[in-house]
Symmetry: C2
Subunit: 363 residues, 2 copies
DNA sequence: TTGTAAGCGTTATCAA
DNA sequence: TTGATAACGCTTACAA
């Protein structure tokens, strides 16, 4: 069917070895030989078989990307960052979506990446010791997005600092009842991100001399709907929060919707701060903690490529900066009535735009 | 390093052929042999080398997915649909993000998927005749999301019907000046979707006896920011539209933001309808045309797997249904002042919630 | 049911 | 600079 290197060699009147060298642009090939090979290959519209090449050389030309979700904004952005770097280096990208626990377990049982990839990038998955060992045994460079996982390369943000900044922002605005919508899920895998952000929330409260109240923490599972439900739950408290820190923008969006539905103004009645600087955050005028998402992906890819190129650098741990982006959904704390009840009949339909003008949280 | 099939065979006291058969669960292997192989493999923590297996069998165990963007909501959803089906069938997913024109051209020049994949799924990319031929020459099943591209399998929605429905919805509400925010971009590749939707818009207007005005069409490039700019442009017209059809929800989000910034109420001053039923559309109370996104991906994957399984069915063309989802951003046409000017001073800060209550377009 | 051995299409080593 | 040829690790006729 398709031409092989033998066909090309025959047509060029050379050996397969020379053809192979010529095609890969290796030195020690005469110009004339190179030209003849080029032409023969073209005439036969020959392409090397990556499979055969891989088997022979031991290199696969592919990088595996292992992640827990493909259809969430954050991961799409990261993958796009990885892809751009990989593609620029003629590397393939093999996607492994670990989805639920079953798929996750199966992955580590069967290790489908074994001998399939030259390097591995793991996104935000908590790795057990066994799993870490399993990945090490692959004997390929591994880069991890998230908490430091020796002996792998690491890229991350400082979730503790970032979350503390979010909470302090609310504290500085005079808030004392500060709720948390956490991403921590029932998933038996304990994703580190929500835990770190939640712990930072608690610590920051304590540092501000605010007593911790477990009822002010609601689960949002990193989803819009779940974020909305979490906000609703917080509002049923006898003393509802005057401000809420959502561990992701998507949950914050849900929270905003609930506020709107309950006829509560944001930020007059309840302030909301998110996390990520999702592309829609700007649109919703959401105050948030911005992190470089695409860049984290690109960096991960660059790290494994460098390791692949034979750099004998020790795996590093890179912490990328986050920053507070103040928009219209956070404001000074109210000092009068409880937020559960609209302060005046008119406010129910006002939506807060009168007071805040252009800084209202709605598009 | 890693154990090979020969090691397993030796340990089990069998031939490599038997080991291979046993490991793949083929018939004609005695129970005792199967058990010995299992145990030997386990003890050596042996995994087959997919590469070697591929070279030998001619199957790659991977499906290529070619798409123009990874970081857009729509494509993330489709990929997630594909992935779930593929993963359930132990197939790998090789991602090819064609991004800009240069990468696109390079892809078809070098055909990196050649012999790398057992099947190919192409998402919404307009294929030239040469490109179609190139893909055919791969001699693997190809499934295309988008316009029918014989001789490939096809999955799509009826963009013309869907877009016409959107426009008719506006017409039925009494609108006569109906703007279009089209996704058609400067990309030399002529993506079919925006063109189909735009043509349907024109046809639907004509059918309603409304004269076509090219000034009512603005480019939104399928982006939020660009959608916002397009809306702003439409509002500068001497006679601005009272309703706008955005060819994607993301552009509609941008349009809503512009309306908000210009102190125009939605839908009182301008109605907006989007396309996709993006997960945020609900949140923004955006009227839109819903299409099954994840399902289209899953279906594409199932089609190529079926073809791979040896079904000799003729490639089909499946059209999935869309439906109008009426929410709060569309309303009856105003009959008094031009929308460019707020009808009353108070309206500028009212945001329309007074009149529409829960149906206001904001969360 | 099991084993032998010929591929699969390259790359890489070594000698020429 | 070029060429023979042995891997690479598996699958699959075909034979036993």
């Amino acid at each position: 069917m398709a031409a092989t290197i033998i066909d090309v060699a025959r047509r060029a009147g050379l050996s397969t070895a020379t053809v192979s060298r010529a095609l890969r642009g290796l030195p020690n090939v005469s110009e004339s030989a190179r030209a003849r090979v080029q032409q023969a290959a073209e005439e036969l519209s020959y392409t090397v078989s990556p499979i055969a090449s891989q088997l022979s050389s031991g290199r696969t030309g592919a990088v595996g990307v292992v992640l827990p979700f493909v259809n969430r904004w954050f991961f799409g952005q990261v993958v796009s960052g990885i892809d751009s770097v990989l593609r620029a280096n003629d590397m393939d990208l093999l996607l492994y979506n670990l989805g639920d626990t079953r798929v996750h377990e199966r992955f580590f049982e069967r290790m489908p990446v074994r001998r399939r990839v030259d390097a591995l990038i793991v996104l935000t998955l908590p790795l057990s010791e066994d799993e870490t060992r399993a990945l090490s045994s692959l004997a390929v460079p591994v880069a991890v997005l998230g908490e430091p996982t020796p002996p792998f390369w690491n890229v991350r943000i400082d979730n503790s600092v970032a979350a503390a900044t979010a909470v302090r922002h609310l504290v500085n605005l005079g808030h004392r009842r500060i709720g948390l919508i956490t991403g921590a899920a029932h998933d038996p895998r304990r994703f580190a991100t929500p835990i770190l952000r939640r712990d930072a929330y608690r610590t920051a409260l304590e540092a501000a001399g605010i007593r911790y109240d477990p009822r002010l923490e609601a689960m949002g599972h990193f989803g819009i709907e779940e974020g909305a439900a979490a906000m609703a739950q917080l509002l049923t408290l006898p003393e509802p929060p005057t401000a809420v820190f959502a561990e992701s923008d998507e949950m914050a969006f849900g929270a905003l919707r609930t506020l709107r539905r309950m006829r509560l103004r944001c930020p007059e009645d309840v302030s909301v701060i998110g996390f990520d600087d999702h592309e829609t955050a700007h649109l919703m005028d959401l105050t948030t903690i911005a992190q470089p998402v695409v860049e984290q992906g690109a960096l991960l890819a660059r790290l494994v490529l460098k390791a692949l190129a034979g750099s004998h650098e020790e795996p590093s741990d890179t912490v990328l900066p986050t920053r507070l982006v103040v928009r219209g959904t956070t404001g000074v704390a109210r000092r009068d009535a409880a937020p559960g009840v609209p302060p005046s009949p008119g406010a129910a339909t006002d939506n807060g735009t009168g007071a805040r003008g252009a800084r209202s949280p709605v598009p």
